[in-house]
Amino acid sequence: MSAENSSVTDMTKAHIGGHRPPLQFELKASYVSLFGMSCGPRRDGACLAQIKEVEEITLVSNEKAGTITTAEPTIEKETQSEEELDLPWQVVVHNDPVNLMSYVTMVFQRVFGYPRERAERHMLEVHHNGRSILWSGMRERAELYVQQLHGYLLLATLEKAG
């Protein structure tokens, strides 16, 4: 499907590595609409997120009465536990004596959209402790952040929490 192709392009930009099938979109007609989206799983257990939503709409035509009755949609949601969602990937920034403190603060503000105070807190954590966890969440996004940070020449790595 064309929707699948465009999604694959988007995901390729955001994701490097792994052996994960691309995004899958399914649309089954008619009257019953099933929309499924999944990204994952990786072989190394990196990303697994699935949202299934089943929406059923039944249209009943009453020719005699000349009216249309729309039944209430039934929404079924399947969610998975956080462990299965594999959320805890961390973006870690490491200390680097060359980068200026003001520059690092600006980069944190730009990349993560953090307010100045929070960006400074992370910068000082990097400076004093040698590293700071800037963000944690889905692997794809974490990879994108690391790439952006490398674009600003910061020493950043991707780490699995725990």
Binding site: I16, G17, G18, P97, V98, N99, L100, S102, Y103, M106, E143, V146, Q147, H150, G151, Y152, L153, L155, A156, T157, L158, E159
Partner: protein, 182 residues
């Protein structure tokens, strides 16, 4: 907002002070009263930012995205992300090199020149200055103590000059950052 930078450098045989003024005028950052020595340091930004031939610098500029063993991931990063980063860095240094053409000419004409940097080139300058500082520091293996010694003097060796270069580029970065904030 204007800043004046007075630089003192000396060797065993001589001592000299050099000045420059750096100001923000509307959409331009203007560096005026530029001493030939500082002008030459500015002209060296694009060349200094090039890590080619220096594995330590190359390794620092294109640092691994993950610690430990993740060879497959690192290989893919090298294949897909590094070329993009290379293009990004090159684009920044090319923009800076174009701005620096204002300083081209013979040595005499370099005396007290003015360099005008369009404010929209600020990001390119920040990137190129950062690349240059990182490459120089990696090539010379400067320690944190050396890098924090902003009053290091005198300039008696190539290494001292490189350290001065890192600090001078840092000063420019600070000014540009301050302008971006304001």
């Amino acid at each position: 907002m204007c800043s004046n930078c007075t630089v003192t450098f000396c060797s065993r045989h001589w001592k000299k002070q050099v000045d420059m003024d750096i100001c923000r005028r509307k959409s331009v950052i203007e560096i005026s009263e530029l001493d030939p020595f500082l002008a030459e340091l500015l002209r060296q930004i694009p060349a200094s930012a090039n890590p080619d031939g220096a594995p330590a610098a190359e390794q620092r500029i294109f640092s691994p995205p993950i610690k430990g063993k993740a060879t497959e991931f690192c290989a893919e990063w090298k294949m897909y992300v590094e070329p993009e980063l290379r293009r990004l860095f090159q684009s920044a240094t090319e923009t800076v090199a174009t701005d620096l053409e204002q300083l081209n000419g013979n040595e005499k004409s370099l005396g007290n020149r003015t360099l005008r940097i369009p404010a929209k080139h600020s990001d390119a300058w920040l990137s190129a200055l950062n690349q240059a500082r990182i490459v120089i520091a990696a090539k010379n293996k400067f320690t944190e103590n050396e890098l924090n010694d902003h009053c290091h003097s005198p300039i008696g060796s190539r290494r001292d000059l490189s350290l001065f270069q890192v600090n001078f580029y840092g000063f420019l970065q600070e000014f540009i950052l301050r302008e971006l904030r304001s």
